[in-house]
């Protein structure tokens, strides 16, 4: 806050300097004009409200008589100023990482439908998510079917462009995928409160765990046996510590068989191998209710362990052993629109044969409004056995369309 106030004080002093303290006759004319236009601008809202109309009680008809769904678009733009070349996908210095189009509406009295289409240069167009949800079930159950973000871990449930960092934490990128873990299937959730605080159990079954690698071919479809599908469970516990602070501690598991490469098969080049993840995540939030426009703090961490099935096959080239990774992320609100964030990542990287990867990153986040975001990120990545490197990234996101609620 103080920074913004000081800035605005300085700037207004300059404006005053221009408007008031300039000597000379010709300049006095200009001064008067500047002053008049500033004064007129300051009353623009008053004039606008005077023009606005009033509406009698209950006088408004439906606001969406044609029952159009909510359509919105989010643009996610990235620039990479790293010293030793771009670290972005495709090696670009400037890129449109993704454009997401969302279409959402009530389908009928029983279902809500949501469709998210993703467009990007590398992968073209894709159905990111498409699902229906119903809460018209007994026992307060909610069920969804279709493609959705897998309820596993905390940050995986946030769209990438809504993160307060540029990328997902390394452990999520490596264990779940660079764009997060999605699944196509069904999910059921139940809210419980036997101890007076919020608990939720989410159970999910999906066609397969993770994204299929099209280059891999198994003799029989991986999902031929029902036991090979992807199954996940997440148990959330949320407690208000005070009116201003709260904590969520949740645990997740996911398991399923994935096609993994192996040499020397008669048919195909891959075999189904079980992989499982177990994770725990903790989120602490503080936001004083009265000063909440200007001050807040969040501290978040996740720890995930990956288990890979032992394969005796000597030609096996897939991931082996068990790996652990995690991150710790903190974000402090400096001003009404500015935030400072930092993240520490560590991971036994399955891509590096289980060697340790460490990364530290810092972020300056600025929201011109609720609908645009500018994010400057610095990251230092240190893989064991490889050279450490730095990243300097800039992200701009913008949202078009109706106001959407902020997921908590």
């Amino acid at each position: 806050m103080t920074m913004r106030v000081r800035l605005s004080w300085a700037a207004s002093t300059v404006v005053f300097g221009m408007a008031i303290a300039t000597p000379g006759l010709a300049q006095q004319d200009t001064t008067k004009r500047v002053r008049d236009s500033l004064a007129a601008d300051s009353a623009a809202l008053v004039r606008e409200l005077a023009r606005a109309s009033a509406r009698p009680a209950g006088g408004a008809g439906p606001t969406n008589a044609r029952l159009l769904p909510d359509v919105s678009a989010v643009g996610d733009l990235l620039a990479d100023f790293s010293r030793n070349g771009s670290t972005l996908e495709g090696g670009h210095r400037f890129s449109v990482r993704e454009v997401e189009v969302a279409i959402q509406a009530a389908v009928d009295p029983y279902f809500r439908g949501e469709v998210f289409l993703g467009f990007n240069d590398e992968e073209g167009a894709a159905v990111e998510q498409a699902f229906i949800v119903t809460s018209s079930l007994p026992l307060g159950l909610e069920a969804r079917g279709g493609r959705f973000l897998m309820p596993f871990g905390k940050q995986n449930l946030t769209h990438r462009h809504d993160l307060h960092t540029i990328d997902y934490p390394w452990v999520l990128q490596r264990f779940l995928g660079a764009e997060g873990l999605k699944g196509t299937g069904v999910s059921v959730s139940k809210v419980l409160a036997p101890f007076g605080f919020y608990q939720e159990l989410q159970l999910t079954a999906v066609d397969q765990f993770g994204e299929a690698d099209e280059a891999l071919e198994t003799e029989e479809p991986v999902n031929k046996r029902l036991g090979n599908l992807g199954y996940a469970a997440r148990f959330r516990n949320y407690v208000d510590l005070t009116k201003h602070a709260n904590i969520e501690v949740s645990a997740s598991v996911v398991t399923g068989k994935r096609a993994q490469p192996t040499a020397g098969l008669v048919v195909g080049n891959a075999i189904p191998v079980r992989q499982s993840l177990v994770g725990i995540d903790v989120t602490y939030r503080w936001r004083p209710l009265q000063q909440g426009l200007y001050r807040s703090f969040i501290l978040q961490g996740e720890l995930i362990r990956q288990f890979n099935e032992d394969i005796a096959d000597p030609g096996y080239q897939g991931p082996v052993g068990n790996h652990t990774g995690g991150y710790l992320f903190g974000r402090y609100q400096l001003t009404r629109r500015g935030y400072l964030g930092a993240r520490y990542d560590w991971l036994d990287d399955p891509d590096l044969g289980g060697e340790r990867l460490r990364a530290g990153s810092g972020y300056l986040e600025f929201f011109p409004s609720e609908f645009s975001k500018l994010l400057l990120g610095f990251e230092r990545v240190a893989p064991t056995g490889g050279p450490a490197y730095g990243r300097i990234l800039f992200q701009a996101t913008f949202a078009l369309g109706p106001h959407k609620p902020h997921p908590f």
Partner: protein
């Protein structure tokens, strides 16, 4: 099988007594309407009309910015069992309401159900933008100004709406609701008589407000808002806007800046110093300041404090 000992018998007795108490209390609870409101003002008025036939909770605090409320999962628990969900409407709750309602999975308070009460439907709304709106005009309230509870005449309209809805959901209480409504209106009328002098003194007096939230209050009191700290609704003040505002204040003779407790006082103080004015922090809702615990008292406090400040 062993016979039950003395401790066992005591335990059973305690259990039976506990079960009986539980049953009795839940039976009593069943007869009371569970009302959840988005703001403290709506809850206060609902409780005046509902009396002991309802039990209520509110989501946002009176000293909190109602435009930015977090959809905490704990609110979902309150909404799960609600018979009535009453909210300000006009998109004030757009940032969080759908998340809580979806999370609550409660058919009684879904849009269209009798327990879903959009209070703005009972209110004559002002500041409805004419023509096309887009966000270059700020995070506008495109359906009109939602801060209507700051006009006490709207307080009565809210109370009448609650009487109707409560009577619909609990016909046995219709008489009680009608009686309570009468008492509430009479209390407000008595308070209005008390503040009539101060209200008259406000007519035509130039002031500045932070947000358009005080427009209904201005309609009621006749105070003349000649400028806003915000250049556009929801947009934080910019230096050039404030420079212009200071000139406007000097020219129009505005001597008071009114603001809610959740905005940044330092910026208002800066403008006030430059314009030779004073800053007045007013509670925008019940609970918005210490000792502001009732609706009529909140309106009275605001009228009297402002009248004193513009003197």
């Amino acid at each position: 099988m062993r016979t039950i000992g003395r401790t066992g018998k005591t335990m059973i007795r305690a259990l039976v007594a506990g079960a009986w108490l539980f049953a009795a209390s839940s039976a009593a609870a069943q007869t009371r309407l569970k009302v959840v409101t988005s703001t403290t003002d709506l809850l206060y008025i609902a409780e005046q009309v509902g009396g002991n036939r309802i039990e209520g909770k509110h989501i946002s605090e009176g000293y909190q910015d109602p435009h930015f409320v977090e959809a905490k999962p704990s609110f979902v628990l309150d909404l799960r069992r609600a018979d009535v969900w009453a909210f300000v409407g006009l998109d004030l709750e757009i940032g969080w309401m759908s998340l809580l309602l979806n999370g609550a999975r409660n058919p009684k308070i879904k849009p269209g159900a009798p327990g879903y009460v959009d209070v703005s439907k009972a209110i004559p709304v002002i500041d409805v933008p004419s023509g096309a709106v887009d966000r270059s005009q700020g995070d506008v309230h495109p359906l009109g100004n939602p801060h209507y509870w700051l006009d006490p005449d709207n307080g009565k309209r809210i109370a009448r709406l609650f009487r109707d809805r409560f009577a619909e959901l609990d016909p046995a209480g219709a008489g009680a609701y009608e009686k309570n409504l009468g008492a509430f209106e009479a209390t407000l009328d008595r308070a209005a008589a008390e503040w009539a002098g101060a209200r008259a003194a406000l007519r035509g007096k130039p002031i500045v407000a932070w947000h358009t939230s005080w427009r209904y209050f201005a309609e009621y009191t006749g105070v003349d808002i000649v400028g806003f700290m915000e250049p556009k609704p929801g947009v934080p003040p910019s230096p050039s806007h404030l420079a212009g505002l200071i000139m406007t204040m000097k020219r129009r003779g505005a001597k008071v800046i009114i603001m809610e407790p959740y905005y940044d006082r330092k910026t208002a103080d800066f403008v006030a110093t430059k314009a030779g004015a004073t800053v007045l922090v007013l509670p925008p809702s019940v609970g918005g300041a210490k000792g502001i615990d009732d609706y009529g008292g909140m309106i009275r406090h605001n009228i009297l404090a402002l009248a004193k400040a513009v003197e």
